[in-house]
């Protein structure tokens, strides 16, 4: 049986008296590439931020890697933070550090690896995400948007996480780079056995990479499952969003 990596149960989120989520339920299984989809403003990124403890939900529970986030202790929170990687929409690389230093940071903070082994790891991760070794000494301001995303992915993979969160990984990339990035995600999953949760609006990327999706609309999850049966649910969003693709 597939192991559960994330379990969201009856999650409620309220922003300034406005209900964003009203009882969300979903389960992410080990090894899945799981997509959070929905119309703009439905709270996909908010749910992702709740999963990574950046935002506090108002009700329900979220369990990540076997730990319930409700009232989680500092030590447990630190432990699970070392087991996941997060790729932010714009990369969020530390601008005062070079790419090498960005990737090295978690290794320096959490391990006592020798400098030479750290260098090996950095070189390996840089190669894994498709960057050149010569890029390692550049600062984030000196590289393109696509390279930033790759470097941020390398940083997210620095600690060999079990779980990867991606917030709109292909947004802002040209179509060729976006498809390359999709291929990279699939490759990483097969190489490292990652479980990936991503928010995306890129239809091609959704069809190319996702195993399972959760559609958030009208404050609820209106569909959870594979893309094959997506049309089994009556929803204006599904009709509009997936309609054109299905017609092709």
């Amino acid at each position: 049986m597939q192991k559960t990596v994330i379990k969201v149960k009856d999650v409620k989120t309220i922003f300034d008296n406005r209900i964003v989520h009203n009882g969300l339920n979903l389960t992410v299984g080990e090894g899945d590439i799981y997509g959070l989809l929905g119309p703009s403003g439905c709270g996909k990124t908010t749910l992702l931020r709740e999963m990574v403890m950046l935002h506090q939900y108002n009700g329900g529970s979220i369990e990540v890697l076997g730990k319930n986030l409700n009232g989680i202790s500092h030590n447990d929170a630190q432990k699970i933070r070392q087991q996941w990687g997060v790729l932010f929409q714009a990369g969020a690389l530390f601008s005062s550090l070079t790419l090498r230093e960005n990737i090295m940071l978690p290794l320096v903070e959490y391990t006592d690896l020798s400098k030479s082994l750290m260098e090996e790891i950095i070189k390996f991760k840089i190669d894994l995400v498709g960057l050149k070794q010569s890029d390692a000494d550049l600062y984030p301001s000196q590289i393109s948007g696509g390279m930033k995303k790759k470097a941020a992915l390398a940083r997210a993979l620095a600690m060999d996480p079990k779980l990867l969160f991606l917030d709109e990984p292909t947004s802002g990339l040209d179509p060729i780079s976006a498809r390359d990035f999709d291929a990279l995600i699939l490759e990483l999953r097969s190489l490292l056995g990652l479980t990936i949760v991503m928010v995306s609006h890129d239809l091609q990327s959704i069809y190319d990479t996702l195993d399972k999706v959760a559609i958030i609309d009208q404050k609820k999850i209106i569909y959870e499952g594979s893309l094959k049966n997506i049309n089994s649910v009556e929803s204006q969003f599904i009709k509009t969003f997936f309609g054109k693709y299905n017609e092709q």
């Binding site: 950046l54 933070r81 929409q89 969020a92 530390f94 978690p106 903070e109 941020a152």
Partner: protein, 373 residues
């Protein structure tokens, strides 16, 4: 000027108008004037032909649709014809999507008392959030003290260089000029009474005790305090702070405390430099304007300026540094997800930090006076 109405014909009840030229938002007024001039007595139907209009935009279309409504109220039917299909399409689009003024939500009128209440509540929440920030800061500091291995020496050293060593030049120059100005102004008065030598007493006490710490704090608030706000604010906007949190790095440990500690360490050093430069500035004027030689100045300085004045000035340093750094960083953390917020909070951080420093200095003065120091 060419008229915007090319032709007009009127039979008993029908008026036909042919418009021409560029009918756009830049000259709607011209068309409005021309159309309002038309004599509509007895007219039941108006037909506007847009065929000769070279350019027609949505603003003009909105005007015509409004005019149609106005005429309708006066029982006049207004219709449009055009050989150019684009004009008719624009009119159709406007008729379809035009919002009535009642559907456009107007900003609610606010009452004076409501505004005061809201502003008071916002300030109250701001104060609470500042206390929460201080609470978290002290908790982190305690954690620091209990686990000294967590002290980020490298970051502190970096910040000492950035906020302190690099500010030495401007602090030294400002203090030198302040010493110069104070001595020059005093010299004029003292000369009148032949009390030239007392310039040393005045300079020594005022610079060491008050001016050097205050000037240093003001320069640092403008230079380093604002830099803290802008740096942390920008990190917030680019999600670098969120990235740190998801990696398990506490921003208080990595960004907040190193900056505060660095400034608290380096501030007395800056005040010491400001002391020296202020006195040198004063000595320079005393020499030129009051004929007090350097040797005489230093001898008198040694005699009348007690060491405690120097110490009092230095003691203020870490307190001023704490206020400047804390306010600067707090304001940085308050930056919202827009660039305007960085400017707003940077300005606020400088103003609040200078104000806090002056209040703190006043409290020190009261305390030292009561203690007889």
């Amino acid at each position: 000027m060419k008229s915007v109405i090319k032709n007009s014909s009127k039979n008993t009840t029908k008026l036909s108008l042919q418009l021409r030229g560029e009918f756009s938002l830049y000259n709607v007024k011209k068309y409005e004037k021309a159309l309002r001039k038309q004599n509509l007595s007895g007219v039941k139907e108006v037909e506007i032909d847009l065929s000769s209009v070279e350019y027609f935009d949505t603003a003009s279309a909105l005007f015509l649709v409004d005019l149609q409504k106005e005429y309708k109220k006066r029982d006049i039917m207004l219709s449009f014809i055009s050989a150019n299909e684009d004009h008719l399409k624009t009119l159709l689009l406007v008729q379809k999507r035009k919002q009535t003024s009642s559907t456009i939500s107007s900003s609610q009128k606010s009452f004076f008392l409501t505004d005061i209440g809201k502003s008071f509540y916002a300030n109250y929440l701001g104060l609470l959030s500042f206390f929460a920030f201080l609470g978290k800061l002290f908790a982190t500091k305690l954690h620091y003290l209990l686990n000294p291995k967590n002290i980020r020496v490298k970051e502190i050293a970096y910040e000492i260089n950035e906020s302190g060593v690099r500010a030495l030049g401007i602090v030294a120059l400002t203090s030198f000029l302040i010493g110069l100005v104070v001595a020059y102004q005093s010299a004029f008065q003292l000369k009148t009474y032949g009390a030239n030598i007392f310039v040393v007493d005045m300079l020594g006490i005022s610079i060491l005790r008050e001016l050097a710490p205050l000037i240093t704090a003001i320069v640092i608030a403008g230079r380093s305090g604002s830099a803290f706000t802008a740096q942390i604010g920008a990190m917030k906007i680019t999600e670098e702070l969120d990235a740190m949190r998801t990696m398990g790095f506490d921003p208080y440990m990595f960004l907040v405390l190193p900056r505060i500690l660095a400034l608290m360490i380096v501030m007395p050093l800056l005040i010491f430099v400001a002391d020296m430069m202020g006195i040198i500035g004063g000595m320079f004027v005393a020499n030129i304007d009051l004929n007090i030689t350097t040797q005489l100045f230093l001898e008198r300085f040694n005699e009348v300026v007690a060491f405690k004045h120097f110490l009092i000035g230095l003691i203020k340093g870490p307190f001023f540094a704490f206020l400047i750094a804390t306010i600067g960083i707090y304001r940085g953390l308050m930056v919202k997800d827009d660039t305007q917020s960085i400017g707003f909070n940077t300005t606020k951080s400088v103003v609040e930090a200078i104000f806090a420093v002056i209040v703190c200095d006043a409290l020190f003065s009261i305390a030292f006076t009561n203690l007889g120091i």
